[in-house]
């Protein structure tokens, strides 16, 4: 198991290198001139040229990339063009906020989603199920930013019981977390429901019933535990979606996180800042994916023994994830 985790961590390195290549390549084709964004419109051509030389923008692309990588390995993600401060420092200062938002949001999604999904599956075909399914479908159909607007409209502007902007404590978390959480809750609810329905008709559920296990134990112990794999998968994906969606939500609720930082960085063509932000999000998302795979092993002994095993497991695992 530890060997597996180590191996997966090592496998993350090429993926992240790939991410840097993609982001770097994307920034290269971006029209616009960072030197001009820094110096403003009234800079003379000579000043611009000097600035470009200073930033190393006149070197060949490959040189620029290698330089970036070498710096990165030293923990230096460059300086922001707009603020002049080290990107790593700025990104890491804002990252915990975004992570908090994502974690609270995903918790909302998981708790609500599993609860509703189980309720719905167990009452399949009844009114509860129908209501939950319809609401769930509507839930995944609403754009997060609209949910955010509606929530702040109702709870902050009209009822005035919750703050609409800022990030200073749990009270401030409620609306943003709900905003990022509702879509996820709906998605997890749908997955839980269909996974539960699939598991409920398995033979081993009948075996459990034939043992005389009470309904509660059949549902929560035998059925839910066996239904968790796809739920974990979706929850992992939702973390990614919420990390990406943080840009919008942080903008709506003016939360000083990585998302709003990236929105600004993108609009000012602040290359190093964009690179740094995307990289940190990609690392986080990759770690979440690793966590998801480790959770699989926790839930399912078959996967656990695959991780311990030899070459065969790699192939099978890929089948599952595809």
């Amino acid at each position: 198991m530890y060997r597996y985790i180590l191996k997966r961590l090592l496998m993350m390195i090429p993926v992240l290198l790939g991410v840097t290549v993609i982001v770097f390549a994307m920034l290269q084709v971006t029209p616009g001139d960072p030197a001009r964004s820094i110096l403003g419109d009234d800079a003379t051509p000579a000043e611009l040229e000097a600035k470009r030389e200073e930033l190393g923008l006149n070197d060949p692309v490959v040189v620029q990339y290698v330089r970036y990588l070498a710096d990165m390995l030293r923990g230096d993600l460059g300086e922001s063009y707009t603020s002049g401060r080290p990107v790593l420092q700025e990104v890491m200062r804002r990252f915990p906020t975004t992570m908090q938002l994502t974690l609270v949001g995903i918790s909302v999604s998981i708790v609500l989603g599993i609860l509703l999904g189980v309720t719905s599956a167990v009452n399949k075909g009844k009114i509860v199920d129908k209501v939950v399914t319809v609401v769930g479908m509507i839930g995944i159909s609403m754009p997060a930013f609209w949910i955010g607007l509606l929530l702040s409209q109702v709870f902050a502007l009209h009822l005035q019981i919750l703050p609409a902007t800022g990030w200073y404590g749990p009270r401030y978390w409620v609306l943003p977390a709900l905003t990022v959480g509702v879509n996820g809750a709906a998605a997890i609810m749908r997955t839980t429901r269909s996974s539960m329905l699939e598991v409920i008709r398995q033979d081993y559920i009948r075996t459990a019933e034939a043992k005389g296990a009470p309904r509660k134990s059949v549902i929560y112990h035998h059925a839910l535990k066996n239904s968790l794999i796809p739920v974990i998968t979706v929850a992992g994906l939702r973390v990614g979606i919420q990390l990406g969606g943080a840009m919008v939500v942080e903008m709506i609720f003016t939360i000083p996180g990585l998302g709003s930082y990236l929105v600004d960085a993108i609009s000012f063509r602040d290359y190093p800042a964009v690179m740094g932000g995307v990289l940190v999000i990609a690392v986080t998302f990759s770690l979440v994916n690793l966590l998801v795979d480790i959770l699989y092993a926790f839930v399912d002994p078959r996967i656990r023994s695959q991780y311990g095993g030899g070459k065969k497991r790699k192939f099978q695992k890929k089948e599952v994830s595809a």
Partner: protein
């Protein structure tokens, strides 16, 4: 005599019977599914709105009249008017054009790119598969929303660029689905059987793999339209999508944000439109999945 000589006709016949019954069956199952039919209705409704917008909309989408700005919904303006006095209903109707356009075209981008990559990876396997999937792993390590926003930021705002950025950001997901479907089909006995009669790769892909992987691809296609519409509205919300004066639901929401305290209808109707459209495509996609693969039902 060559024992294979008779196989094409038999095979063709079987395929025809199978095809007919698969789609006829699927359709009859789907027709019984009220929610799926409701989804189809919503989708068709939005489609009609988009196509015949100039005929249906009571006003032109950019008809400004500051004298009647911020009007509450009334008979003359059923959804009210916005800060420039433009009729919100008309803008919502015209907005269906951008949303559907972005949704449909970007899915075509991602499905064709992802379809080819997934097919090649799944079918050839080995090194090709490895190379493609590692690349996809890299792409998927960046959350799709972030990727779409980043690409859009590079390309600059606009309808076409929004289509490209959303299309590209979903290629990874599509590749995985198609590859998975192809892998499943590739392992089936009828493909083995086709191989055993010496059918070449192209023929196998065209005759066996694609038709059989088509159902999951179609489902993914439909469901992807809804996520693409959501992404598009999100891009517009950030100012990276369709540009004014062309109305777009996400952009309308974004523009109406400032007035949300007093004029709820400016944001509510575009929001509802996004939701209903996405809801329609989701219902349709779910219905298709249930209809095409009864085993997957619920």
């Amino acid at each position: 005599m060559n024992p294979m000589a008779s196989s094409p006709s038999v095979e063709m016949e079987e395929e025809i019977v199978k095809k007919k019954s698969l789609w006829a069956d699927a359709w009859s199952r789907m027709r019984r599914n009220k929610l799926a039919m409701f989804g189809l209705f919503l989708v068709l409704l939005i489609l009609v709105l988009a196509v015949f917008a100039p005929l249906i909309a009571p006003y032109h989408y950019d008809e400004q009249n500051t004298k009647i700005a911020f009007q509450f919904p009334s008979l003359a303006h059923p959804f009210g008017t916005d800060n420039y006095g433009r009729d919100i209903l008309s803008r919502v109707i015209y907005g269906a054009r951008s949303s559907l356009m972005v949704g449909l075209v970007s899915v075509c981008v991602s499905s064709s790119l992802g379809g080819v990559l997934g097919c090649v990876a799944g079918f050839y396997g080995g090194k090709v598969d490895n190379a493609i999937m590692r690349f996809i792993d890299v792409v998927l390590a960046i959350p799709a929303t972030l990727l779409a926003i980043a690409i859009a930021a590079i390309l600059g705002p606009g309808l076409f660029n929004a289509v490209i950025s959303i299309g590209l950001s979903n290629v990874g997901r599509f590749t995985r689905v198609v590859r998975g479907a192809v892998l499943t089909v590739r392992g089936q006995e009828y493909v083995e059987a086709a191989r055993s009669i010496n059918a070449n790769n192209f023929r196998i892909i065209r005759r066996y793999v694609l038709p059989n992987a088509f159902a999951p691809m179609l489902v993914e296609f439909t469901l992807n339209i809804s996520t693409s519409i959501l992404s598009a509205s999100q891009l517009s919300f950030l100012g990276l999508g369709v540009q004014p004066p062309m109305p777009e639901w996400g952009a309308m929401l974004s523009a109406g944000r400032k007035f949300i305290r007093d004029y709820w209808y400016i944001t509510t109707f575009p929001g509802l439109s996004i939701m209903l459209t996405v809801y329609g495509f989701n219902l349709l996609g779910d219905g298709l999945r249930d209809a095409l693969d009864p085993r997957l039902k619920d």
